[in-house]
Symmetry: C2
Subunit: 195 residues, 2 copies
Amino acid sequence: MARKTGSHSEITGPRVRDAALKLIAQHGFAAVSMRRIAEEVGVQAGALYNYTRDKQALLFDLMRNHMEELLAARQEAAVSGDPVARLDAFTRFHIHWHLPRGDQVFISYMELRNLTPENFAEIERLRKVYEDELEHILQDGVDAGLFHLDDTKVTTLAIIAMLTGMSTWYRAEGRLSLDRIEGLYVGMVRRLVGI
Amino acid sequence: MARKTGSHSEITGPRVRDAALKLIAQHGFAAVSMRRIAEEVGVQAGALYNYTRDKQALLFDLMRNHMEELLAARQEAAVSGDPVARLDAFTRFHIHWHLPRGDQVFISYMELRNLTPENFAEIERLRKVYEDELEHILQDGVDAGLFHLDDTKVTTLAIIAMLTGMSTWYRAEGRLSLDRIEGLYVGMVRRLVGI
DNA sequence: CATTTAACTGAACAGCCGTTCATTTGAAAA
DNA sequence: TTTTCAAATGAACGGCTGTTCAGTTAAATG
């Protein structure tokens, strides 16, 4: 049975990526078979190859998509002004954008080693662009005499690790509201840069 | 050919764990086969089952071992005294102990989802013991009026995420010496708790 | 030297893996 | 109504999976 009701290509494609995202985040790339993804979509394994060249391309697409959406959203949310305001905005943006995307964040950190070297390099390049945004804010703050920190690069990585780590324990039904958590992290990041 | 020179059980056992550690850190639990581990040891796959009940037990042993060694080392290195000294000691201990154990750290964070529910619960329990050590230091510092922070639990998790994140980018041949990095993190952790 | 036995082999088991492709389906175009 | 063709099927490919176990080896024991 094929093409049961209406053209499916524009429906099945996203459904394949959604299923892959969910399953890979849950069990890991190597542990999820193409047949399992196909089952989740409600299709035979062979049909997946209408939407991806192979399994590797499916993973890479998920990760590249995640990074490109992140950079696009960041560009839209970027504020200008003094470094303190930009730092606060960065903190809030990072939390707001990453928290509802737990599966993508998880995959983007966990499955790097399952990328081919070329694909890995591309993802790392995009990640670097994002890190550089924060590094520039810190450097500007230091140059303006507003921030007091010992090493811009290390502080950049420390802040991103601290912020991203939240994804591992945050639960919507937890003790603290998202707004409250956001406020806590804004405070911690400020202290970290010596404000 | 069996038992070529001397009794092997006390040699092969650790070699199996070493090979599993290295390969799982490199490729992920699901992506590494028992035959691949056996090949690394220089043995047939069947021989591995003299040293582990099954593949799951092999992973669990690696992770439990990691956590128990961490807690034992921590107990030995624990200092008493004022909260500031204890906090500095915790920071230095965490970095010193984790940095040379990149593979174990990686596995302990990445492969949690490949544990059975019972095994997962046990690892989480051990991790909680470690986190509680830091939380107590922070609470004591707050009670003594030395630390100024908004939420002890969130700050605990933030510090651990920040410290552990270093494992993802630290390279021995990098720009900064281990001592220098340690100093930077001691400073950042201090700032984070409002010293 | 003869015996014991820890350590390991190598084959076998049923089942799953990613990927390809000739074939079938049925909605849309003519 | 007939034709077209995007979309999906289902079988097949060689190869790998975790695990078991009867049989083999050789070091240690008596």
